[in-house]
Amino acid sequence: MGFFTDTSICIGCKACEVACKEWNDVPDDGLDFLGWSYDNTGSLGADTWRHVAFIERPRGGSAPPSSPPVNGQGAGSSPAADALDTGDAGVRWLMSSDVCKHCTHAACLDVCPTGALFRTEFDTVVVQQDICNGCGYCVPACPFGVIDKREPDGRVWKCTLCYDRLKADMAPACAQACPTQSIQFGPLDELRERAAGRVGVLRDAGVSEAHLYGAGEDDGVGGFGAFFLLLDEPEVYGLPPDPVVTTRDLPRMWRAAAGAALALVGAVAVACARPR
């Protein structure tokens, strides 16, 4: 089971953030004005399990305007700069509700030394809070920067995909609360089919930039349990363009360590070739 987040119909209401906090009893992490459009939670973390990003992008693709227009008098010859001159019409407003990806090959789960992180019967990745000892290894292992340590609690926290609700045959709180069905919950193959159809509809309507992020199974994390329909490059939303589970290279790392260990044995043997 998983999520399909269709950002093309997200209205930025943050009902998902609120529902998640209420259901999961996630502590308040400050109602701060960050100065980044309407975003006030900043990023996913120990106390933000759904994060609504607000992105203001100049129209005309990813190329920055050649020279910023000053009060309409700049040398705004490029289309992008011209568009900016016209005010609101020149800005695309992207909204997207980010969440833990529940990777098929999950780095957080792989590196967890206590077995606190585990894969559930729903193929989701969940922290067992009665086991986590707060070693923090999962935090820098996650290629998406999702999981984090909660202070002063000392343990790590992230989206559980509402494990308790799933067990009771209920939809996760965020999907339940989403008023536009931007957040859809269900079996992944069904969601993928629906998502592909949605991309087709959008492209036919002229939204050529619509594409799916994390819908395949052949990416660096073996497929996302929560994937997205995006209207711009992933990095614009703060998502890594080509995430790879770090443990994919672990055999190579152990081999390098074995080589280094042998070098150390050799160095000691050479040093002790003579007793004094």
Partner: protein, 295 residues
């Protein structure tokens, strides 16, 4: 505020989370390195009949591992749950592998040192020293795999060189302590190990920097860069001092201290570089975007 520079990601926010490890972990990389390499030096010196060098190295190994345990426990968010580390054995987690290695290594190292100091249980002491020496190389290098096995570019992309850097650093620091605490006539092997370890440490650091290419930024600039420069200066000076005047007591103490300082500084440089790399969205996004573009 409009977003125009896409390599800066979402309003310049980091894509990755910075590690939550405190400096205790960088200290542990040092003390664990001392413990691992000292157990090897102590065992080899003992086998060659150099009792004095064996004793100081075995004591250094036990002291190093005795300090390591508390350093690791205080860094936990829930220190009282440290035994959960032994709840499972997971080859995919270098921290789990390391916990089991340390669990076997610590008692062996302490028994070896206790026997060498008191002269009691000589046979058990020799066996323990042998066991610790077998585990020593793993103790000294697994920490490099531990940091490399993360999403942080400055750590992950250095996974080929980091184990050699940590091995060289461990050898240099263990040798530095041994030469400072062993009478000069008996410290020959420590001096040689110090020079070889220092050479490996400096060479591995440089090769790591060139191998990382654009991702080497944190090792060249800022705090981690300054630590790296200071480390190389200490390590190189220490090794040169060993070669020039290692048979003078005062010089060998100073050289040993310099080798230890160089080792400690290189661990802190690597540690800090991870934080700086994680905080930089372009370091994460740039290589991934070119990788995806190349597909």
């Amino acid at each position: 505020m409009t977003v125009t520079d896409t390599t800066a990601g979402y309003y310049g926010q980091p894509v990755l989370k910075a590690p939550v490890w405190k400096p205790a972990i960088a200290w542990y990389f040092f003390t664990g390195g001392v413990a691992g390499a000292s157990s090897m030096l102590g065992f080899a010196a003992g086998r060659r009949g150099n009792r004095r060098l064996a004793r100081s190295a075995l004591v250094a190994s036990a002291a190093g591992i005795a300090v390591s345990g508390p350093l690791l426990v205080v860094d936990l968010g829930r220190p009282a749950r440290f035994l959960n580390m032994l709840r499972v054995a997971k080859p995919t987690s270098p921290m789990s592998v390391g916990s089991w290695i340390l669990t076997a290594f610590a008692p062996a190292s302490m028994l070896a040192a206790g026997s060498a100091v008191t002269g009691r249980l000589p046979r058990a002491g020799r066996g323990a020293a042998g066991a610790a020496a077998v585990l020593g190389p793993a103790v000294a290098t697994y920490t490099a795999v531990l940091v490399a096995d993360t999403a942080i570019p400055a750590w992950h992309d250095a996974h080929r060189e980091l184990p050699y850097l940590f091995a060289g650093s461990a050898a240099a620091s263990a040798a530095g302590i041994a030469m400072a605490f062993t009478p000069v006539p008996d410290a020959g092997p420590a001096r040689r190990l110090g020079v070889v370890g220092a050479a490996l440490e400096v060479a591995a650091f440089r090769s790591m920097e060139s191998g990382l290419g654009d991702a080497a930024g944190p090792y060249r600039e800022g705090r981690a860069g300054r630590l790296a420069k200071a480390s190389e200066a200490c390590t190189a000076t220490g090794a040169l001092l060993v070669l020039a005047a290692g048979r003078r007591r005062s010089a060998s103490v100073v050289a040993g201290a310099l080798l230890c300082a160089g080792s400690l500084l290189s661990r802190f440089s690597v540690f800090r570089a991870g934080f700086e790399s994680a905080a930089d969205p372009a370091a994460t996004i740039g290589p991934q975007r070119s990788r995806r573009g190349a597909d």
